[in-house]
């Protein structure tokens, strides 16, 4: 009997030796005369367990992890080929069981490039339903779901689509923003590597909804594995008639291509991204005009984060109400939250809005990896605020985070233990802004550099009170004077570090003397 093993080919699994584990399994199975079939799936998103090996058994898939190549002979001795030992059924692992996986239902389960696997787990159902609907009805369904932009801005997706549907244009475009540059985020990458047809389906639905016949996925050059898998998936979907002149035989056309960025964080800003696809420097455009009116190449364009686009097939298939029934306040549906940094159980945790930050960090995430107390968590990437444990009762919700002086961004949470120096983190936020500024507006281009210099003075203990006032004033200017979120949101990490961790900005001279 052939034994089926699943070993992820997700980039994070590869970074901790998944390929070597596959080799070890093949070698050991061969040595024991066991016929082994290894399927390279995406990741389940339990990254502290990667490489996570699963073995198919009549009772379901049994999990083992983290597996090192040298562990493999002992695992076979303990009966891995029959599903004995290990962590038990994957689906019963508490981290997975506690989730509400609407968007990531297939990720890590299927072979990413298997059209049969995709179709067997509800694939293409949302698209099939959309084909039977009028464009305005598709848009209405998305509006009714309450879906808001998962890139961070939280703008209602249905309203954006309606604007494009109603905009006159000889052509229209769908652009998937997969320029996932925030540290602490990896959901886009996981999804493209683990369930690529899902993004294709979401974009095709968007195309039908607004009357666009061409789409672009813009992703990062730092994601070569995701690019390769998406490219292969686009080819397979085209060959199978899900893309092309007649999508699923509907007589309506939609096709797409993938474009790679070139190492510019600011290209995650939607107008800079459009400039980049057009072959220009990734500089932000002034708004208006909105991309929905004048976007890519001057045509009406839906530009959505890929987590927004991949929420759509579920909404069309299961209905807007099923999606909207989950959530909190005005934040409806689920958010794929990414737990990263110094955390015991790092990974992807998809759940309805409303779970608190403290539950995420301490209960789901299990606290720090180092075992030391949590000092701060940064939510929403390099432009997100640092939260102290005192604010851990904040529910994960667009409005609640805004009220607490932060943002949820793309759903990344980076945990720091008590060894972190928050003055250094504030300096890094300004420095990162200076490195990545597109240079178009002065508050961001000059302000970030002056910010680094001024924080350096504070760290050196020079005129601390006066320089803190100066940094606060500078942040005010950047927040209200910048063209986009890069300059406009850099004040979030800087000011939150200052306000929640003032001791780190006052102790520097003494600490230096002591070293």
């Amino acid at each position: 009997m052939t034994v089926t093993f699943y070993v992820p080919q997700d980039a994070a699994a590869l970074s901790v030796g998944a390929d070597e584990v596959v080799e070890a399994i093949r070698l050991e199975a061969g040595r024991r005369g066991i016929a082994a079939r290894v399927i390279r799936n995406g990741s389940r998103g339990l990254f502290w367990l990667e490489p996570l090996v699963e073995v198919a058994t009549p009772a379901g898939r049994i999990a083992y992890g983290p597996v090192a190549p040298e562990d493999v002979p002992a695992l076979f001795d303990a009966g891995m080929a029959e599903g004995r030992g290990g962590l038990g059924p994957t689906e019963d692992l508490p981290f997975l069981k506690a989730q509400t996986r609407f968007t990531f239902a297939r990720c890590g389960v299927i072979a990413p490039l298997s059209l049969a696997d995709y179709a067997a787990m509800d694939g293409w159902k949302g698209l099939a339903r959309a084909i039977a609907m009028e464009p305005a009805a598709i848009v209405a369904e998305v509006t009714k779901s309450g879906l808001r932009g998962r890139g961070g801005a939280g703008f209602p997706t249905g309203i954006k689509w309606k604007t494009v549907l109603d905009a006159p244009g000889a052509k229209k475009y769908i652009v998937a923003n997969a320029d996932e540059g925030d540290s602490g985020t990896f959901a886009d990458r996981m999804l493209m590597e683990g369930d690529p047809f899902h993004l294709i389906e979401g974009m095709a639905i968007a195309g039908l909804a607004v009357g666009a016949e061409h789409g672009y996925i813009y992703t990062r050059s730092e994601y070569p594995h995701a690019i390769a898998i998406m490219q292969a998936a686009i080819g397979l979907a085209r060959d199978a008639g899900y893309l092309g002149a007649s999508v699923m035989g509907s007589g309506r056309a939609f096709d797409m291509e993938i474009r790679a960025g070139a190492g510019a964080y600011v290209c995650g800003e939607e107008t800079a991204l459009l400039e980049s696809i057009e072959g220009k420097r990734g500089q932000v455009r002034a708004k208006p005009p909105l991309p929905a009116h004048e976007g890519l190449f001057g045509y009406p364009t839906v530009i959505n984060n890929i987590l927004s686009l991949t929420a759509v097939p579920f909404i069309l298939d299961k209905g807007a109400e099923t999606y909207a029934n989950v959530g909190f306040g005005r934040s409806r549906g689920t958010m794929p939250i990414q737990l990263a940094g110094n955390i015991a159980h790092g990974g992807l945790f998809e759940i309805g809005f409303g779970i608190t930050l403290g539950e995420l960090v301490n209960e789901v995430g299990g606290g720090t990896a180092s075992g030391k107390p949590v000092k701060a968590v940064q939510v929403g990437g390099p432009l997100g605020a640092y939260f102290p444990p005192a604010l851990f009762d904040t529910p994960f919700d667009y409005e609640a985070f805004a009220h607490a002086g932060g943002l949820i961004g793309h759903g990344g949470i980076v945990v720091f233990d008590d060894s972190v120096d928050m003055a250094k983190q504030a300096r890094f936020a300004m420095d990162f802004c200076a490195i990545e500024s597109c240079g178009k507006c002065t508050p961001c281009r000059i302000g970030s550099t002056r910010g680094v210099e001024t924080i350096d003075k504070i760290i050196a203990g020079r005129d601390v009170a006066a320089n803190i006032t100066l940094v606060e004033d500078l942040c005010e200017t950047m927040k209200f004077g910048s063209l986009c979120a890069l300059g406009g949101f850099t004040p979030y990490p800087v000011l939150s570090a200052l306000h929640h961790f003032p001791d780190d900005f006052a102790k520097a001279p003494r600490a230096q003397a002591a070293e």
Partner: protein, 163 residues
């Protein structure tokens, strides 16, 4: 108009192949970045003579194309070393001791970030996020992704690539 401005590094032998690559992308909408990626994949950098050729093909100014090449961190105006080591310096890696790992890499290679060794063996660069934030700290050594780095593991990995 091409000859005089194509810079001191102009290498006439590159031109036929550059012309082929540029022509192969000319049908695309917004061909500039795909063209530059293809050129860099083959030449290891963007040869100076490519700038005017792309400008001519796209009916844009040489200044515009130069502006694009210099805007994006990925595009190189000179070849990198035979090996490229990129260490993530972003927050999730910082939270897991990434700065100590980065310092160890720099010391081990005897290079500052952004520098290439004199013998052309290794280039050391920063990268801001490889999307491996739950297996931090991480680095990219040539095409090999490396997660959960420790200073000890860095020693082993770097020993494997050296010259």
């Amino acid at each position: 108009m091409t000859g005089k401005q194509s810079g001191k590094d102009a290498n006439m032998s590159n031109i036929p192949r550059l012309a082929e690559i540029i022509a192969a992308h000319a049908h695309m909408a917004g061909p500039t970045l795909p063209t530059l990626h293809a050129i860099q994949a083959e030449f290891g950098h963007i040869p100076a003579e490519a700038i005017q050729m792309i400008a001519d093909s796209e009916n844009r100014s040489r200044a515009e194309i130069h502006g694009v090449v210099t805007f994006y961190h990925d595009f190189r105006e000179a070849p990198a070393g035979r090996h490229v080591v990129k260490v993530c310096r972003a927050e999730a890696c910082q939270a897991m001791g990434g700065e100590a790992v980065a310092a160890r890499v720099a010391a081990r290679l005897g290079l500052d970030f952004g520098a290439t060794s004199a013998d052309g063996g290794v280039t050391l660069e920063n990268v801001y996020c490889l999307g491996l934030c739950a297996t931090a700290p991480s680095a990219l050594i040539d095409d090999r992704l490396c997660g959960r780095l420790t200073e000890a593991r860095v020693e082993k990995l770097l020993a494997g690539i050296e010259r």
